[in-house]
Symmetry: D2
Subunit: 367 residues, 4 copies
């Protein structure tokens, strides 16, 4: 028996699916065993079906896997219980709950169920306890499996400084303008004809996500339900000609007044909850504060902590609300595949994988 | 005698200086006769001294001019009274008032005196009456000449929708995030090493300008002084890898509540004051409202109206303030040389050039 | 009766189709009357069906036209005889000859029939007499209409300096490396995910075209057939992150030795044949020679002559062959829609449109 | 006593100097102890003087070093004998031989002495024996130290496939067109105003280097002198808007005819000499052959082997010479600091550092 948890990646030929496979090439706990894609690719070897667009080469073991269809049937086989979904939203809508109903543990990167009241919207450093919403999910949905979701990529970058400030002072209002990388649109995604030497002040559906998901992420799990944080958010989202890295330009109103030095101190001293610090994908520092006037920058800071560290900076008093700052996230690592992978690690450490976890992994997760 | 007003361009070898020369190649009223630059270029023919970086070729008449120094001496000669300044701020500080004191009429693009209480900060479509602040300037400074300034390039784009909304409903607060083109930093300006595949969330001194200049532009001339508009502005300014075009992402609080349809109508129906519409550099439409969800865009909309038309769009209700929208300006045309040139035209039409205006121009300006 | 020739544009919703429509907005001879696209768009107003991606707004008259299908049926109506084809190659293959067989005069930008021995591959400045290959085409194909083709966009830029050198010294060998803009791939074309911060050393099918089309263009029409020029060409074609402008980096072996000054003189003094100089789309100078060490450049020189002028430069001795130089073409203007439009003008001036030409146009063309 | 060789970096604040420092952060043999820069920075801590532009953070030990001047005096102190030069050419010209004359072992990245007949121009995988030209250098220059040079960044990428083909078939002619990244121009280097959305067909002095340096690199050391390889090269060098990675587009004439399969096999099977394979900076594979039609690509392949592996591909028959191919090098790693660092490692392994090598390093180098 292998010493790792076998996993499936749904939507494996897309850009996020590729990132999942790339990140799990040498993962200490997980091993990719099943890949699915649209019918067009069914039956092909992965290496023959995929147009590999992420950095590095196709991991050898994944390259030889035969692609199955991303449908709701029995196609995932008997060995795999843990499933990463990089499905398009419309497909995720149908497939993800169907798989949970069949007993699969689904860690999704899709937007379909993020705001579902019974689905944990999870970032281990931000709201680790929300994982227990699974109890209510199981009770009410009667699923032998489960479904958890990772938030939108732009939201992921923004919610880290929000968390630190919410803990310290409360956050009641936020104005958020984003400058988002083209990789956020997947592959082929944004046409170069549209974005070279250009800014597009529109990303379909994105403003809604930025205005709503942080409220759930910063909410409280109480009596089997999430009470959303009472924060009013106004978002304007933009596409810029940058490869990776979503920059959030934020202006925040605090629950109680604070001097700018206190705000800086709160951001600088914030740390992820101890329980999640040893997960394999948790970076050494969840968030770093830059004090140079011109940082963080998309290209220069997106790769910090293997793309899992959020960089914030330019903290200033705001003449309108209380504090202005910027926050940068690597959108396809922390903001997509890396985040969903870390969520699965948190599932393991929280005991939700039960007997399918090999002893070595169980021991490591229990450290 | 020539039928055009002879003019000088100070700082003629820089990117804005080049735009001035390019825009006046076939100007109906003005003709470039004197060029100045730093000592290094003194005595050289313009064509030999300049590294021409703006579109098109060096206009023939300018290419042959001998460069003079941008100092405060007699170097501009006797023929020229009207002067366009594209000087760096530190040089403008000393040279511009010295020239005004000698009788020159200085139309500046520099930031040095924009917030000087006796210097009109002018956009003909926005605050044409501010030109009469010159009366107070002359009275108090005892200058035989005069000095007027064009606003910052990012401010120029933002202040058009502000004007329309201020007229209709009053504007009391604004949150402004900008995404600014690299041409705004002049030449050589931003290193490609810094900006390729990157966003830099910092432009030195820019946030102050965006927070202050609109207050003066939208203020009232009363008793020989500008009463600034009481608008609180919070600005965050960013550099993006775009050649030309500054995008302002705005969220605005109105003096009185208005439905979003009224706001849209106010923007759509706003027109420049009739008196300035026939200036040679005034575009057919000062501001156009785009109704597509993804416009304006920097590359696709910056050249509208020969780069003199402001494009606004994405008008939406704002959950925090009242209305969100974006506004785009061509930063080196409307936002720099084109704006300063139009200011000079307004000086002519307002009668400030007196006898130095040839009769044909005077007639045209009087239409 | 209108004073212009009514025309149809096939494949009107694509990027080249849009350029055709844009260029004919104020064309003195032609007027767009019929637009076709794929079945998906059939019956829609053009303005509702098109994702307009080229500069400027959709011309009003075109916006209101109802789209017909690009099939081979009677859908073009009775009024139109002159047809511009911006069809994808696979569609062009079937549709273009079918239309010629029905009596339409087809000016194609597609690659399908460029190397057909009976189809003129035409650039008016380069090989105006090839238009008469139409005689052989009509004789052998028995078409009441006709079909002519414009060359590949990269070829168009390269063949101008080749023509000048071939005329002066003969050209026997050429090594050509291209750096091609993303607009050459149409819309959506190249994914930004693929080309931002990247060079792709491959464009499908392009090297064949660069190695073959110049031989036909520089060939001789003799006895109703083109004798290809005996020039051996080796091509390597690359995609670079540039919006418009294909740069050809050439190394050329001449038929007889020439000093570099003679080569420069031959390039500088070359002029388009007098007969084609008055066509509406012929630029003032077909080719300009730049003498600066760092010109032409893609962004700075592509728009010369409204994008119809070829810019060459960096003429040097070549240690291997005889002469090295670079040549730049605006690939979607001169190299696509603009070139095909000029071909149609040459058809008119050559008398091939017969009675469908209004008298005013006939008179103008006869100048 | 430290277990590493203490080294100095000259020109430490420039982009290449930064790369040296970054690469030696955890180098097993070398430790940065002395940094020099221009007088402006003298006496400052490195962290206060440098505008750090390369990836990652400033290594801690380097950040605290006090900068000395890059002059020829005693400023390097007594502890350091091994010196890396990232000086501008004009400074290198004077300083490098002066240091060699004082007993320093100078590994240069500058172009000043690359073609000096007594200075080894070295790439360990390409011409490891050229290091022994040092014997002649010492004999004739009477230097107690020594001076070796790394080749031009574009040359470095090109010479690997040349080496493989020269070994197998002989190479007699080469046509080389390059598409070079902006980082090759150092910092600030190329203005974004010049290169965004542009190709510049000119890099000062570069074509000479590409035409000459490979002849020396592939030459033979015989009787204390390098006999250059008899290869005629024609180069055309271009700047493209890419961050890192120089692409060489090559067409090569072989000494004896070979089928394309043999050429491919020769490239695929070529390996670096065994003696240099264990140097710390030698990558696992010195050169990889890509068989996809569209690889290598600048962004996707530059980082292979930590930026030390050359990627070649698109091997095809050439209608003019014999074989066409492209070759990609990471210009600031393999092509600059990484290459010069590996040269120093080869000096160590070749015994040229003598007693200044700690025993642990000597042992490692002797493996």
């Amino acid at each position: 028996m292998s010493s790792k948890v076998p996993v499936a990646v749904l939507g494996a030929t897309g850009a996020v699916g590729q990132r999942f496979i790339s990140l799990m090439e040498n993962h200490p706990w997980f091993e990719v065993k099943v890949l699915t894609a649209s019918e067009r690719s069914e039956g092909k070897r992965y290496i023959d079906a995929v147009n590999w667009v992420v950095p590095g080469e196709i991991p050898e073991n994944a390259g030889d896997l035969e692609i199955r269809t991303s449908d709701t049937g029995e196609s995932l086989g008997d060995d795999v219980k843990l499933v990463f979904s990089a499905l398009p939203t419309e497909n995720a809508k149908e497939i993800e709950p169907a798989l949970a109903a069949k007993g699969y543990l689904v860690c999704s990167n899709a937007s379909a169920y993020r705001m579902d009241p019974l689905v944990p919207l999870l970032i281990p450093e931000i709201n680790p306890d929300h994982v227990h919403l699974i109890e209510a999910q199981r009770a009410q949905r009667d699923w032998p499996g489960l479904l958890i979701a990772a938030p939108n990529c732009a939201v992921t970058g923004i919610v880290f400084p929000m968390r630190a400030l919410h803990d310290a002072f409360g956050v009641t209002q936020m104005h958020a303008v984003t400058m988002q990388a083209i990789s956020g649109a997947g592959y082929p995604g944004v046409a170069s004809f549209d974005i070279l030497d250009n800014v597009i002040p529109y990303i379909k559906g994105e403003e809604d996500k930025v205005e709503n998901e942080p409220r759930k992420l910063l909410g409280r799990l109480r009596d089997g339900a999430i009470e959303e944080a009472e924060i009013t958010i106004s978002a304007q989202t933009n596409r810029v000609p940058v490869m990776d890295g979503h920059m959030g330009v934020l202006s925040i109103k605090l629950g109680r007044k604070a001097r700018i030095e206190e705000v800086i101190e709160a951001l600088d001293s914030w740390e992820a909850p101890a329980a999640v610090r040893d997960l394999p994908s948790t970076p050494e520092r969840a968030m770093v504060l830059r004090r140079e006037p011109d940082r963080p920058q998309s290209r220069r800071d997106r790769d910090v902590g293997n793309g899992m560290t959020i960089s914030v900076g330019r903290v200033q008093e705001c003449p309108l609300l209380d504090v202005k700052l910027v926050s940068l996230v690597h959108n396809t690592l922390r903001g997509a595949a890396g985040g969903a992978l870390q969520n699965a690690e948190w599932l393991v450490a929280s005991g939700y994988l039960g007997e399918i976890v090999p002893e070595t992994v169980a021991t490591a997760a229990a450290r």
